[in-house]
Symmetry: C2
Subunit: 294 residues, 2 copies
């Protein structure tokens, strides 16, 4: 199945590489042309002249973009090339409403909102978890291609259900980040042996992936991503907007947006989300602002 | 090693049964005598006339009590019977300061603060995780007895370090409860298939024990304990007090205390802590108070 990839960033590029390895990468396109050139020289794959040109040459278009507006712009640009029987799969994280609008713009092509979790490592290894909104028959039809980029593909409901699932996941991830960083900052203040804390807490009812994978690094002051603060902030802004449609402010979402904004203002936007540990430690320092990143 | 158990509640009774099975249960005592009578008839173990009588007859005293004041009262009552070379092990959850005071009151006996996690099931199976403050040599000396009640014994530091560790664990557990219940309430409002949400979120970076073990039950409206709201509330009040000594209010602790108090006022004190799902669902109901428990 001839596949094109639009958006060759930290997630899109490794997905494109896996599709190339599987023999189905037909075209690539990227808004800033340098990334497309790089990947084109690396893989020997053709760069499309435009999104519409890419769509015209492919049976499946995979999108990996940053924000809601980017997706809607790309959908507009794709339109002249879209044709019956082809499928547009959007792996970006956007709002449920934007996914529903994108699905309408995709006609006469089929559309799936298919945000992923598993980060850049999952993208590289092809083990992403994909949460899909759209028609089951469409997912089934392109399953062989999806299985190249994702270790698990879960159909969650109609258009928008994939994005809604991702939003739920990001709310949970925010809360767990709050839980682990607050507890470990408290443990630090109490001068407890942090390695043992991570083991003991991890072995019981408070056990979680984030503690096991980020506990040691955060307490050693290492915040390499992982999942960047700025990206989780963007996702939580989407969650806030989705909750606002129910007239609801979700406490963990509101709180984490404030904490992440403070981190971003202090220069930590590109650190792993476990940098929230800095905020929690600061509670115990009683010394006002973050020292700016040097 | 002749062992006595004081406090024969939901945790103390199964610990006493395991000690009896291991052949080292010498005496029991309980403030309300009925519980002691029951266990005495069940196991054929002798009821001590008083805590001091129990201490005089034993080399090791294991305590399983409810609150800080209970512990200090029992330590006073034990004193006439305490003697050199014996050890008092307190498995209750109290503040670090109370543990340090109890250690002083235990002299000339040795003292360990040894709160546990793993709940009533862990107590029954003898698989509790025990977080211990005190001297390593003392732990080593009584290790064979501790291994009867706990699957894992971790030495965390001097007197009080066991309780400090438990406090850190309870903060993390509170945050994870917040994370899972807020996310699943959001998923419910979004009308997503909750079984798939639990699977998808559980398989990624937001994965955690609580979601895996309480996700399905809470979304089906089942809140059998598990770990009771009133007990976690008590533990978090201790955490709040411990954080206040640093002039710090921990956000998740403050928030969860408020939520749990609301649940307790609505009659849900004896439900599992996953009953926090009720609070989060209520955000989306926009209908004011909880319906009182019928």
């Amino acid at each position: 199945m001839k596949t094109g990839v639009i958006g060759l960033g930290a997630m899109g590029a490794p997905m494109a590489r896996n599709l190339h390895r599987a023999g189905c990468l037909e075209r690539v396109w990227n808004r800033s042309p340098e990334k497309a050139s790089c990947l084109s020289s690396e893989l020997g794959v053709r760069i499309a002249d435009s999104p519409a040109d890419l769509a015209a040459a492919c049976e499946l278009v995979l999108l990996s973009l940053s924000a809601d507006d980017d997706l809607l712009q790309v959908m507009q640009a794709l339109q002249p090339g879209l044709h019956c029987g082809m499928v547009v799969v959007d792996t970006s994280t956007v709002s449920r409403e934007t996914a529903i609008r994108a699905a309408a713009l995709a006609q006469p092509a089929e559309f799936l909102d298919a945000p992923v979790s598993g980060g850049t490592e999952g993208a590289r290894l092809g083990t992403l978890v994909m949460m899909v909104g759209g028609e089951a028959a469409v997912i089934e039809r392109i399953a062989p291609v999806l299985s190249v980029v994702a270790g698990r593909v879960e159909h969650m409901g109609p258009h928008g259900a994939g994005q809604a699932t991702k939003a739920v996941n990001q709310v949970m991830a925010a809360g767990i980040n709050q839980a682990v960083t607050e507890a470990l900052a408290f443990a630090t203040a109490l001068q407890l042996p942090l390695d043992k804390i991570i083991e003991v807490a991890g072995g019981g009812a408070a056990g979680n992936w984030f503690l096991a994978h980020r506990g040691a690094t955060m307490t050693q002051g290492q915040f390499d991503p992982g999942f960047r603060v700025a990206l989780h902030h963007k996702d939580l802004a989407i969650c806030k907007q989705m909750a606002a449609q129910f007239d609801v402010a979700l406490p963990l979402v509101e709180m984490t947006l404030i904490h992440y904004r403070r981190l971003m203002e202090a220069g930590f936007a590109d650190e792993d989300i476990s940098a929230l540990f800095r905020e929690k430690r600061r509670l115990f320092d009683n010394n006002g602002d973050h020292p700016k990143k040097s």
